[in-house]
């Protein structure tokens, strides 16, 4: 495994260097940037995207894509909030919302794995479908008045670290273990790398795909719980364009949209890069339009570096 891990780590090290370079620039330009509260702030602001991106990374590695994460988050947020407001006990409401996320993922996965439909199209359909369900259920209105007991879960800190960061970091460890230490992780890599070869080698392709989308749905629901906990309300329109941030973070972190390759640490660093960029540019009072521009440039630059770096030492051996 040594060389293999070396090559993955090599890629992750590259992403980390990118993050450090961006941080140095901001640290030189803003005295506030390199303070503990601001850095924790970046982590916290990145945590929701990271949560989504973890699931997205597993889906991308398995050769798919999940465009429906934002609407799944909105739908589960609405369901969770409705249950909480109706007085359902907090653990039960959270469980219900997370289960709803898993069900949404299952529907996506079933259409893809059993139905043989293309992931892009299925989850594009899901993108509209789940959003529509959230809007229909609420009539387009937000749900206010979430109980304080629930809000305390995501608004507190543990050893000065905001709880959302702790939650997402724990989930990242779980995702890393799944990807690198379990047969399921090998199956994700295998079906993303070569689905037909994986099938002939006895990989349970259908179950593996289902698992990827169910995990993605679960992570979307977790992100939804964090967000409504912080806002104290659930809106049917929340989560718009989340899928793009998550895909961007995965790609910056080294996930190949062709499947078969990607890394959990890489994705996390990718999320922090995007979060740092937003934070730093806001500190420098850069207009939102230019922030968007910077994000776009970073994504493209990351892909260009990737392209050139993978060209070095590559090539077929004879």
């Amino acid at each position: 495994m040594r060389t293999y891990f070396k090559s993955i780590k090599f890629r992750d090290a590259g992403t980390l260097i990118g993050l450090i370079l961006i941080s140095i620039v901001f640290a030189l330009m803003s005295p506030v940037f390199l303070t503990a509260p601001n850095l924790l702030n970046i982590l916290q602001q990145s945590s929701i995207n990271a949560c989504i991106a973890l699931g997205m990374t597993l889906v991308i590695i398995s050769g798919g894509i999940d465009l429906s994460v934002g609407p799944v988050a909105a739908l589960t947020a609405i369901l969770g909030a409705a249950m909480l407001v109706a007085g359902v006990p907090i653990p039960l409401a959270i469980f219900g919302a997370l289960a709803a996320g898993v069900v949404c993922g299952f529907v996506n996965g079933a259409l893809i794995a059993w139905g043989g439909l293309q992931p892009f199209i299925v989850t594009l359909g899901g993108l509209s479908l789940y959003r529509a369900l959230a809007l229909i259920y609420t009539g387009g209105q937000p749900i206010f008045g979430l109980p304080d007991g629930f809000r305390a879960l995501t608004n507190g800190t543990f050893l000065d670290v905001p709880t959302p960061v702790i939650i997402v970091a724990s989930l990242a460890v779980v995702a890393w273990v799944i990807l690198n230490k379990t047969p399921l992780g090998e199956y994700f890599m295998a079906i993303g790398g070569n689905p037909e070869a994986a099938r002939i080698a006895g990989v349970p392709v259908v179950l593996t795909k289902l698992a990827a989308y169910m995990i993605s749905g679960f992570m979307a629901a977790v992100a939804a719980m964090i967000l409504i906990g912080r806002l104290g309300a659930a809106e049917p329109t929340m989560g718009t364009l989340w899928e793009l941030d998550a895909i961007a973070a995965s790609a910056i972190g080294g996930a190949s949209l062709m499947g078969g390759r990607g890394s959990i640490p890489g994705t996390l660093i990718g999320c922090i890069i995007l979060g740092t960029l937003r934070n730093g540019l806001t500190l420098l009072n850069v207009q939102a339009f230019y922030q968007l521009l910077a994000t776009g440039i970073i994504i493209i630059v990351a892909m260009l570096i990737d392209k050139f770096a993978s060209g070095v030492g590559g090539g077929k051996q004879g």
């Binding site: 379990t182 090998e186 199956y187 037909e196 099938r199 006895g202 990989v203 077929k316 051996q317």
Partner: protein, 492 residues
């Protein structure tokens, strides 16, 4: 007169692996020069350096005595070097003419001068194969004709050196004869040809000289056909290939029963038994249903009717159920159906047996690595580095890893579809030894092969397929080329 092409002291390193150790190659004008070596010997790397896909770390390239610097495919084209790849790089929807002039259109003003292009394409092809219609789309041509078009394209670019990488891998014997004639014409025009092939009979037909590489080193440059074939092979593999005689290990214990297996017209009512320790060959023409039958048995495709039994129990469809029952398929198309390119050897060999290598749902990497290394030592994987991505190994070594996959899974019934397709002589002999060892251990082996010497060497019994049906079962004393051919060829 200086040589047409001279490469001296070419060195190339990939990462930590040195793949070329000061290789030299000298080709005379009009010479047909064989480039021989096992997979992994460095032939592809050398060709890629020559045609600008890779750059060498050090070394000199000279054409007609003048040093040239080749840093890109464009440089190679300018220097007069063209390469006919094994997998032809053409646009199937475009016409012959359009492919020949791809990227180098003849123009009149800003427009493409189609008439002049077609006339020029006709002129180029008239010397090679006048039967090719220059207005036909490439996809309507046979592979052999496409190859000729590729050669015409090289001549259009005034190539002085044409390198052909395994040009006959998908040609019929008749088409090969045509290629021999074309190569003779090229040679007569003073074009030098570098001919890469594993097939000794071809090399001895077309080449005048051969350069032999082994493990990235220049071993010898020998005259052909003056040098005996056995000497050439020995130089390639670095050892004498033992001539082994066939020995049967077949027992009376039936392991696999195939009963009435059918799928469309491809496979019709296939019924036979396979016993422990037996090596059963399936012969027949390409398209006779051999691969389809293997896929049905392996559960990769679903049968319309019929079933299989292992040790008396009916086995449900699907690759997983079949693998659990002790079957394992080594597919013909290694890249498409066999390997997960970017994953290390460990992940590729461990794939069907990941659960076996896990405890409480967590893979025991050290155990997986140790087991894989052990198996790969047995099959002589080179280099023995199981952490490397499988895609970085040569075809023969990839095949060893895929066979190792089923050894790791404890497979009892091995299904090989063209086990030595695209594999060099050395690795071929190793795979034969491996198949014989499996049989000696009491495993059952079913293999499809288009190479009759292979069938004759390995099989205890042979099923001959013709148009989807098993047309004959040949016992030990009936396995001859004549018998197989008689049952394989459709009576018209």
């Amino acid at each position: 007169m200086p040589p047409r092409l001279s490469l001296t002291d070419v060195q190339k390193t990939f990462g930590l692996t040195k793949v070329l150790h000061g290789v030299a190659l000298t080709v005379q004008p009009g010479e047909v020069h064989g480039l021989l070596g096992e997979n992994g010997a460095g032939k592809s790397t050398l060709l890629n350096i020559l045609c600008g896909v890779l750059t060498c770390d050090s070394g000199q390239i000279a054409i007609d005595g003048a040093a040239v610097h080749i840093a890109s495919p464009r440089d190679a084209t300018t220097a007069g070097i063209a390469m006919i790849h094994q997998e032809l790089q053409q646009v199937p929807e475009l016409t012959v003419t359009q492919n020949i002039f791809l990227g180098h259109a003849l123009r009149r003003g800003i427009f493409v001068d189609r008439a002049r292009q077609e006339a020029e394409a006709k002129r180029l092809l008239s010397a090679l194969d006048p039967a090719i219609d220059v207005t036909a789309p490439i996809r309507s041509l046979r592979v052999a004709q496409r190859q000729i078009v590729e050669i015409a394209k090289a001549l259009r670019g005034n190539a002085k050196i044409i390198a052909m990488d395994e040009p006959t891998s998908s040609l019929t014997p008749a088409e090969f004869e045509k290629l021999v004639a074309v190569i003779a014409k090229l040679s007569a025009q003073g074009v030098s040809v570098i001919y890469v092939s594993h097939k000794m009979d071809e090399v001895f037909r077309v080449c005048q000289t051969a350069t032999i590489l082994r493990d990235g080193r220049l071993i010898a440059q020998v005259p052909i056909p003056a040098t005996p074939v056995s000497d050439v092979i020995e130089l390639m593999v670095g050892r004498e290939l033992a001539k082994s005689t066939h020995q049967s290990h077949a027992t009376n214990r039936t392991l696999l029963k195939v009963i009435g297996l059918s799928r469309g017209r491809a496979v019709q009512d296939a019924t036979f038994d396979l016993r422990a320790g037996e090596v059963l060959g399936i012969a027949g023409l390409v398209g006779s249903g051999r691969t389809e039958l293997m896929r049905l048995i392996a559960g990769v495709d679903r049968a319309d009717t019929g079933h299989i039994e292992v040790a008396g129990a009916v086995i449900p469809a699907g690759p997983r159920a079949r693998i659990t029952a002790g079957l394992g398929l080594v597919p013909e198309e290694r890249k498409r159906d066999g390997i997960i390119r970017h994953r290390p050897v460990t992940s590729n060999t461990g794939l069907p047996a990941m659960r076996r290598f896990s405890r409480l749902g967590v893979i025991r990497r050290a155990m997986l690595r140790a087991k894989t290394e052990d198996l790969m030592r047995q099959v002589n994987l080179r280099p023995l580095d199981v952490a490397r991505p499988i895609g970085s190994f040569s075809g023969g070594n990839q095949q060893k890893a895929i066979i190792g996959r089923w050894l790791a899974a404890g497979t009892q019934i091995f299904l090989f579809d063209e086990p030595t397709r695209g594999i060099d002589v050395g690795a071929k002999a190793e795979i034969y030894d491996l198949i014989e060892r499996l049989a000696a251990e009491g495993k059952a082996v079913l293999f499809v092969s288009s190479e009759l010497p292979e069938v004759i060497r390995l099989a205890d019994r042979v099923l001959v397929m013709r148009e989807g049906k098993i047309s004959a079962t040949l016992g030990p004393d009936q396995i001859t080329e004549a018998h197989i051919a008689r049952h394989a060829i459709p009576s018209t």
